[in-house]
């Protein structure tokens, strides 16, 4: 049996899905957090059933890639579970009525039921069920209330037996249903609602946005640095290093195996930044430096997401974003890209046109450093002075804006208008925030650590086979002549194809000047996406557009690096 969870965006389908299947899914408080369907299994009365979490859609006539996915799925379902946000019944009814016309066994779930009480909304379930001619039940998925009765009710889903509704009649019918089924007790605006209004006023909004973003930045930095200083560095330096040194002695302090596993000893000691062995630097970079930053970034992002702040940022920035060929909503993939470019690129599916997606993907991969890169930039460059970190970010921001302006002017087409619902602010449920954080961290460790290790292994192999020398000779005119970097920096650029954090780490032992470090980091951020991002971009854009995007990246990075090289006294 195949069960489909269908409903408007942001009604909590993904939360219901993870409650039913135990599969954890990233859910957030904004429309479009699920852009592809997810599949899982659960048990009904001892029998295994398949359940699919379909991306949210407002109607069965799709207007975006994510909605198309949804519509294509309907014929495959044996049972349709239509999920409705009980606090916003009216907006859910058009889709519900369209689904009824498909005449498949169906069940309606009024989710977010707990909030109707606070909002003074009363819904007559029995009457609604009569109107729709299918069973209606209530749930509060985030706390788990009603999930059990949902499981019990799924087999009782029934084929709707009401006549097809003409489109012209649809709104009249919805009006009638709302009139008869729902009563709203009027009440005063709550403090949250007043704040809600304030954050999308131009003046108040910009002020709040500035506060929110700078506060987020400081908390992320504070938590990240705190974790590194208090937990991870001591762990590596005090606990792990003595063990490694013993192991190094056991291996005889040199030899091929020693160099690959532990790396070069620096004055007889292991330097986690410079030794570059598989189990020294190879573990220290992803776990000791990057992990704490990724953790604190996703913690703050999770709170912002669940509170419902991001769509408001999108609306405030809409006017500006239109200049770079995007509409405000593109800020959400961009913010996700600050954590990791991969989910950022995937999230561009919420944008309607191909042109927009191309611009958004290119801008994310070129100008938005991921959390791993942030961590390395702060760790390595920050030690030389925050001034240099600032220069890197200002340069990247300028590149991001200029490239956007240029692409907007040169690529045919226009930017569609912003059109989105704004979810209400909801107080984040801490357990949900931590669950999401845990999932993202697990994914990070599973995906990042192996690639870092492969990267370090390749570095060591290339060094011993002298392959880097060949590459360095070949690229010397560009690397050395134009960008002002030593030939050896090419090794970092090559490894940048795999992972940017390791690549920045490789700049450390080169003894670069401050200027060269800035050029190196900017180039690494811009010149090409890491392999994971590349694969996803290729899949999302197709090879033709990917080729174009890659060309833009390579050219832009050489030009920018050269400019810094010339302009920096």
């Amino acid at each position: 049996m195949k069960v489909l969870l269908i409903g408007n965006p942001n009604v909590g389908k993904s939360v219901i899905f993870s409650r039913l299947t135990g599969i954890q899914v990233v859910a957030s408080n904004y429309p479009g957090s699920t852009v592809n369907f997810k599949q899982g299994f659960f048990k009904i009365g001892g029998q295994k059933a398949e359940i699919i979490d379909v991306p949210g859609t407002y109607s069965l006539k799709p207007t975006s890639a994510a909605e198309e996915v949804a519509v294509k799925m309907i014929p495959e379902g044996d049972i349709i579970v239509c999920v409705i946000d009980a606090t916003r019944l009216e907006r859910s009814l058009p889709l519900t009525l369209q689904l009824l016309d498909h005449k498949r066994p169906m069940l309606v779930v009024l989710n977010i039921w707990d909030e109707t009480k606070h909002k003074g909304i009363q819904i007559d379930i029995k009457k609604l069920s009569e109107f729709l001619s299918v069973p209606v039940i209530t749930t509060s998925a985030i706390t788990g209330e009603g999930i059990r009765s949902l499981v019990d009710m799924i087999p009782k889903a029934s084929v709707p037996d009401r006549p097809k509704i003409k489109e012209s009649q649809q709104w009249l019918l919805i009006g009638e249903i709302i009139n008869q089924v729902q009563t709203v007790t009027h009440r005063h605006h709550t403090l949250t609602e007043k704040f809600q209004d304030f954050t999308i006023r131009p003046f108040g909004g910009i002020l709040i946005a500035f506060l929110v973003l700078s506060l987020s930045f400081f908390i992320i930095r504070f938590l990240g640095e705190g974790l590194i200083g208090l937990v991870f560095e001591p762990l590596f330096e005090i606990v792990y290093k003595p063990l490694l040194l013993d192991f190094s002695q056991y291996l005889g302090g040199k030899g091929v195996l020693h160099d690959i596993l532990i790396g070069n000893l620096i004055n007889g000691d292991i330097d986690f930044n410079q030794s570059f062995g598989l189990i020294s630097t190879g573990l220290f970079v992803p776990i000791g430096i990057v992990f704490p930053y990724v953790l604190s970034f996703y913690f703050i992002l999770g709170i912002l997401e669940d509170y419902g702040y991001l769509p408001r940022l999108a609306i405030l920035l809409d006017v500006f974003m239109h200049r770079i060929g995007l509409h405000g909503y593109a800020i959400i993939p961009t913010v996700l890209g600050l954590g990791c470019n991969v989910p950022g690129i995937l999230a561009t599916r919420i944008l309607e046109s191909k042109r927009e997606r191309f611009i958004a993907c290119t801008l994310i991969s070129i100008g938005i450093p991921c959390a791993s890169l942030h961590a390395m930039i702060f760790g390595l460059v920050g030690a030389r002075g925050l001034k240099y970190v600032l220069i890197i970010y200002v340069v990247l921001a300028i590149v991001w804006i200029c490239l956007g302006l240029i692409m907007n002017m040169t690529i045919k087409g226009f930017t569609p208008e912003l059109f989105t619902e704004i979810p209400p602010y909801r107080n984040p449920v801490l357990t949900a925030v931590f669950k999401k954080l845990w999932m993202r961290m697990k994914a990070f460790l599973k995906e990042a650590v192996p690639i870092v290790l492969i990267g370090v292994l390749i570095i060591n192999l290339f060094y011993s086979l002298r392959i880097f020398d060949v590459i360095a000779d070949f690229f010397a005119p560009v690397i050395n002549g134009l960008m002002g970097l030593p030939d050896k920096a090419v090794t970092a650029l090559v490894i940048g194809f795999l992972r940017k954090d390791v690549a920045v780490g490789m700049l450390a032992p080169l003894g670069l000047t401050n200027k060269q470090v800035v050029i190196g980091c900017v180039t690494l951020a811009m010149f090409f996406p890491c392999v994971a991002t590349f694969v996803v971009m290729l899949r999302e854009l197709g090879w033709k557009d990917m080729l174009k995007a890659s060309a833009i990246m390579l050219f832009a990075s050489v030009i920018v690096a050269t400019l810094i090289n010339i302009l920096w006294p």
């Binding site: 407002y58 207007t63 916003r88 019944l89 907006r91 709104w171 704004i422």
Partner: protein
């Protein structure tokens, strides 16, 4: 008697009914999917800058609409309750 204006120039706090949509089937479809159709009651919530998105309440939810799209939505204003 009632004035018909477009959504973009409607003032903050004003209430009105959608009187028509100047646009093709696609636009109508898109708007209808979020509950904006001839006859739906809207309350203007805010304008973001002069040519930025327009925010309205309709059917119990808050929606942001791009400026140009808002210009295509015609609104019949409800008579102001305070007498003048």
């Amino acid at each position: 008697m009632n004035q018909v204006i477009n959504l973009a120039i409607m003032e903050k706090g004003q209430i009105g009914t959608v009187a028509g949509i100047r646009g093709g089937g696609n636009l109508r479809l898109k708007l209808a999917s979020l509950g904006i159709h001839t006859g739906s009651k809207v309350t203007k919530s805010s304008n973001i800058f002069t040519r930025g998105p327009v925010v309205i309440y309709v059917g119990g939810m808050e929606i942001a609409i791009g400026y140009k799209m808002a210009c295509k939505i015609l609104i019949k204003l409800h008579p102001v309750e305070s007498d003048r």
